[in-house]
Symmetry: C2
Subunit: 409 residues, 2 copies
Amino acid sequence: MPVNLPPPDPASLLPVAGVELGIARAGIRKPGRRDLLVMRIAPDSEVVGVFTQNRFCAAPVTLCRERLHLESGVRALLVNTGNANAGTGADGLRRAARTCAALAGLMGIQPEQVLPFSTGVILEPLPDDRIIDALPNAVADLRPDNWAAAAEAIMTTDIVAKAASRRLTLDGVEFVVTGIAKGSGMIHPNMATMLAFVATDAPVSCEALEAILRHAVNRSFNRVTVDGDTSTNDSCLLIATGATAAPVVMDDDDARFAPLRDAVTDLMVQLAQAIARDGEGATKFIEIAVEGGRDEDEAKRVAYAIARSPLVKTAFFASDPNLGRILAAIGYAGIDDLEVDGVRLWLGDVLVAERGGRAPDYREADGARVMAEADIRVRVDLARGHAATTVWTCDFSYDYVKINAEYRT
Amino acid sequence: MPVNLPPPDPASLLPVAGVELGIARAGIRKPGRRDLLVMRIAPDSEVVGVFTQNRFCAAPVTLCRERLHLESGVRALLVNTGNANAGTGADGLRRAARTCAALAGLMGIQPEQVLPFSTGVILEPLPDDRIIDALPNAVADLRPDNWAAAAEAIMTTDIVAKAASRRLTLDGVEFVVTGIAKGSGMIHPNMATMLAFVATDAPVSCEALEAILRHAVNRSFNRVTVDGDTSTNDSCLLIATGATAAPVVMDDDDARFAPLRDAVTDLMVQLAQAIARDGEGATKFIEIAVEGGRDEDEAKRVAYAIARSPLVKTAFFASDPNLGRILAAIGYAGIDDLEVDGVRLWLGDVLVAERGGRAPDYREADGARVMAEADIRVRVDLARGHAATTVWTCDFSYDYVKINAEYRT
């Protein structure tokens, strides 16, 4: 069950002027499921994205990369769940292009102005005919206040839909940021480890929007892992429609850049944490904060060694303060000259280990008290420098095995 | 349950002249359990070893490294299960040294001639008094034909004891190689991913024995992973007593070097595979053979990406040919310039994927047939060069979670 993750209140999701969303049932994997999402984006919007670094990237990722920076601009997103269109070779590219062309025809735009996104089973042909048949219904459904239904339409093994909004006033003008994301398994950077679509009505230059996306993704979606598997389909898009009249935010010299960047980052952190809270089979949400690294890379390596360890994750599932497993993960994280005598480990506010062994004041009852909570913080000080990082993950339960053993049945 | 892994037949385990083994009950973790092993080694034996690369290595590993190449030589091994004596700092070193000194006193040798080995729970103090109290019984039990009981004494979550022998005749003289190993969870190179003790009565120089050990370990224990967690205690020792009269094997110019090396390697491969077959919760044994790499390192990276993926391992548990997960793992293994169109993937003898997608002749029923077997071979051709490697692992089941969630209860 998702950990401290209530479903989003539809009334809290603010429409973004210049973005309309339409949902339909294409029967891609399950009959009757609302599994198709179309997003219409106003002309002259800026759209930037980051994508998986998996070499077996999906056909839609390849098409997105080709089309994202064409002069014609992006006018629509076409998103399906139930089939990843990955490991499908040249045929997969053809099918993705066919669905985009069909949507372009319905909307009176060019095929290359449509970006496709898919999530679901790998290595199976995309049922493009069924998607094309359902497109007219999705287009007929297009409206600005459809974010909650869109968040549901892109779910796979997610239990809770993931969506959030922010409102901010800059130089007396009110702007909105709203985003949705999906992801529950096959979650590991780089990159964005899921699908996420975030839009604002602020006017932002392409360069400034790229800078905001990079900043936000590195502090959000690139810091979450469920199972250490980097997906073939990860995509995160940031859209600025500029529909709300105001001078364009050109670069970080603009006083509005930082607050806008921080609002986008804050929203993406909420969505990224929601992915870990709704990780497959999750019963615990775990934040792993590593400090005292020589550089951020080694702090990250230690954080991910802990976050990925099946032994650590099953101990969290059991609420068992078997904390030697965390020390072992720190020890094999690949810092060859790590002096373990300097390392300190906290569970919540309890100092567990120092000077290469158990802290003198540590009592198992203190560890057990923290372990019994649903939200748990692990803190590690490497005592080598001043670099730090934080990553989020969940525990490893029977249900993770069940969900993934039965995924296709 | 262990996969195609019958327990060793005690009658098949050949004594090694110059090695005696004694077992006792120390009550380290469970009362009444035979949890303590002493091995007495004849004077002038050559002893070489490889140890974990985990920075949080256990106190006994630190002592072994210090003592292994002292001029006084190694005369005894002291092995306990139930407590890893890892994450125990300076106090752990003192306790390990105390137990060694006590054994040395009983045997009339020097304390630094005793090598300690521990396996079990991390971050808890070694009950050195209980070990010392049990040592006289272990010494009284010393005899050459005790290998089967020794293999049982070092088990932790192992279900089946792991032991094997080889007999070979070189230049008309018959030699014996016998070894035992333990390991079931926290299994991942480098290094040796468990405890293993292998002995031969052949006379071998220290240099030649080191070369044999490196060769054998790189083809055996360094190729097995259960959960990707590199233990704090991994140790593999190779002992040559030289008790059988023959000229010493000085180096690889000796015609007997290669057959002896191959016998040791063959035995260690059997023990390493036994660890994967008896991996925690295992229901499938999986061999992953990667060929066509530019170098062995990239072949290994791909093999381990597949072998470590929880998504791949749960699919094997479910006998579900959800083979896109293997493609995804190949794609994120870290070969940045991998051309996926050239990659081919076989499951058993069935060609599953080529040219970036599903092979035209692949039928799900063929994949399902292979998946239903207990011993499964995955073959990947990267089509980039001529380097190859093979690793062994097991699937990921409910019982893995159960065993590791309840490990300390």
